[in-house]
């Protein structure tokens, strides 16, 4: 059975093309032109949508996924143990790291016996999905609400440990990305990442 040619359109939004003759008022354009003037002048006095960027910044969400931070623990030791799970989880393959063994005199610097001597994120590859944060078993990497600034050279977008690790005296607050739900999710044994 073929579908009738005259059936209604599936979307229900089709319109019959109208070729009706224009009325006199439509022909002389003027009423439509004055209506147009009314519309534009009403916009002239409307509030502007402009945000004066460098001076005023548009508010962003607390849980915004921006530039990464490598956390230290309470004693100021780096949490990262260079397990590579973040690099594995990263869909954009933006993370690279080189692991190293902790020396006897470095106990105050690194929490685990193994640490990342080099940890680099290519901010041009990163899609800020937050999967590295989700994958991290040591609560070491988090995304913050800091926007990655623009730059003139591609090489400057490869952020090393000098940029990523939080300073000891200037801790980065990531509590808003560590809501109870998130913590429960991270510890949930039913989830594949914890099994």
């Amino acid at each position: 059975m073929s579908v009738s040619q005259n059936s209604d359109s599936l979307s229900g939004r089709s319109r019959v093309v109208s070729n009706k003759k224009m009325t006199f008022a439509e022909k002389i354009y003027l009423p439509a032109i004055f209506a147009g003037f009314g519309i534009t002048i009403s916009h002239f006095f409307k509030k502007n949508a402009t945000i004066q960027y460098p001076e005023v910044k548009r508010p962003i969400a607390e849980i915004y996924r921006g530039k990464h931070v490598l956390k230290r623990d309470d004693e100021g030791r780096e949490r990262c143990t260079a397990c590579g799970l973040c690099a594995l989880a990263c869909p954009a393959e933006a993370i690279t790291m080189i692991a190293a063994e902790r020396k006897e005199d470095e106990i105050h610097l690194y929490r685990e016996e193994k640490y990342a001597s080099v940890y680099e994120i290519d901010m041009l590859r990163c899609i800020f999905c937050g999967l590295c944060e989700e994958a991290c078993p040591k609560e070491a990497i988090f995304l913050t609400n800091v926007i990655v600034p623009s730059d003139l050279h591609r090489s400057n977008f490869i952020y090393g440990k000098d940029v990523l690790v939080e300073p000891v005296d200037k801790r980065v607050d990531i509590s808003h990305r560590q809501t109870p739900e998130v913590l429960a999710f991270k510890k949930d044994k039913n989830q594949s990442h914890n099994s």
Partner: protein
């Protein structure tokens, strides 16, 4: 004609020239600001307070751009085009009465460079030369787009000049003079021509848009189909001249509209304040500039409201609507004047 008089006229001419240039310069900023506000944004506001130095920055940028001339271009005509456009744009301001007159020590100083008794004719003569600047520029560029733009400009200006002149003939019939000063003086107080010639005003303002190549009749330079129209091949200050002349034309057209239809420097209740002649002249000139600025704003308002006409629509409007309407307007005016004279 003593030396004092010549000196006065020279100073007045330079002042008017300067004012036209400054107003045109700041029209570019005003246009961008107005465009911004019409689109719910702010427009340029970084160069100085509220973007007050933006025109200077734009001018400087144009000055420092590379001067480029196509290899196949006609050198002489290529340079003549923008110069002619600029010169003609500035010529018209000579006959516009910018204010009444100052009486100092019993001598009368009129705020008009030349009160010639064929002022209206002079304006139209100059306006019709205006098309040459565009045509020569478009032709000399040796570029298809520029040529199409120039041809469009020429035919558009010729078609609309007819209806424009016709709409002015009704005014001339009413006032019985071709002198712009006399036409303004007859519109004393609130006795403006627009109340007697609303149809003439409508025709005139539509034609003024076409004459200035302003939207919705900016076909000679429509970016979407002709890149830049007649000034496609122009760069640096030559392009600047073309763009600048457009704004001067807009200013002069607004001045003509205010002069012919909105009483020039006359304003309502001008006799009831008991002001001296000189004070009245100053206020009158300010009022005149307020009127001009309103029409400059109106030009921009139209630009950001109406879409561009198609070329055949443009021609149809000019020849089949505006020209017959203008002729009918003349007939009605003549009829009314005849009845008045016989009563």
């Amino acid at each position: 004609m003593d030396g004092n008089y010549i000196l006065y006229k020279l100073i007045l001419a330079s002042v008017i020239l300067l004012i036209s240039l400054v107003v045109a310069m700041y029209s570019t900023l005003l246009e961008r600001k107005v465009a911004g506000f019409f689109q719910d944004r702010l427009g340029p506001n970084r160069a100085g307070i509220g973007g007050i130095f933006q025109p200077l920055a734009d001018g400087l940028k144009l000055f420092f751009k590379e001067e480029f001339m196509p290899g196949t271009a006609d050198k002489f005509l290529y340079i003549l085009g923008p110069s002619l456009t600029m010169m003609i744009a500035l010529l018209t301001s000579a006959v516009i009465p910018w204010g009444n007159s100052f009486i100092i020590n019993g001598t009368e100083y009129t705020l008009q460079v030349a009160d010639i008794n064929v002022g209206v004719l002079y304006v139209f003569a100059i306006l019709s030369i205006g098309v040459y600047g565009i045509m020569i520029g478009g032709w000399a560029s040796n570029n298809k787009y520029a040529l199409i733009g120039a041809v469009r400009a020429a035919s558009q200006m010729i078609s609309y000049e007819l209806a424009m002149s016709m709409s002015i003939i009704a005014i001339v019939m009413m006032s019985g003079t071709l002198s712009l000063k006399d036409i303004v003086d007859q519109q004393h107080g609130m006795n403006w021509n627009v109340w007697y010639q609303p149809l003439g005003f409508l025709i005139f303002i539509v034609c003024a848009f076409a004459e200035c190549n302003r939207s919705p009749f900016d076909l000679p330079e429509c970016e979407t189909e002709l890149i830049g129209g007649y000034h496609t091949e122009y760069s640096s200050m030559k392009l600047g001249f073309y763009l600048f002349a457009e704004y001067i034309n807009m200013f002069i057209s607004s001045a003509m509209i205010a002069t012919l239809f909105f009483g020039g420097y006359n304003f309502p209740f001008m006799d009831s304040f008991g002001l001296s002649h000189n004070a009245l002249t100053i206020i009158g000139s300010l009022v005149f500039f307020a009127k001009i600025l309103f029409f400059v704003f109106f030009f921009m308002w139209v630009r950001w409201t109406l879409p561009r006409f198609r070329y055949d629509q443009l021609m149809r409007l000019g020849w089949k609507s505006l020209l017959p309407l203008a002729i009918i307007n003349i007939l009605i005016t003549g009829f009314v004047i005849m009845i008045k004279n016989h009563l």
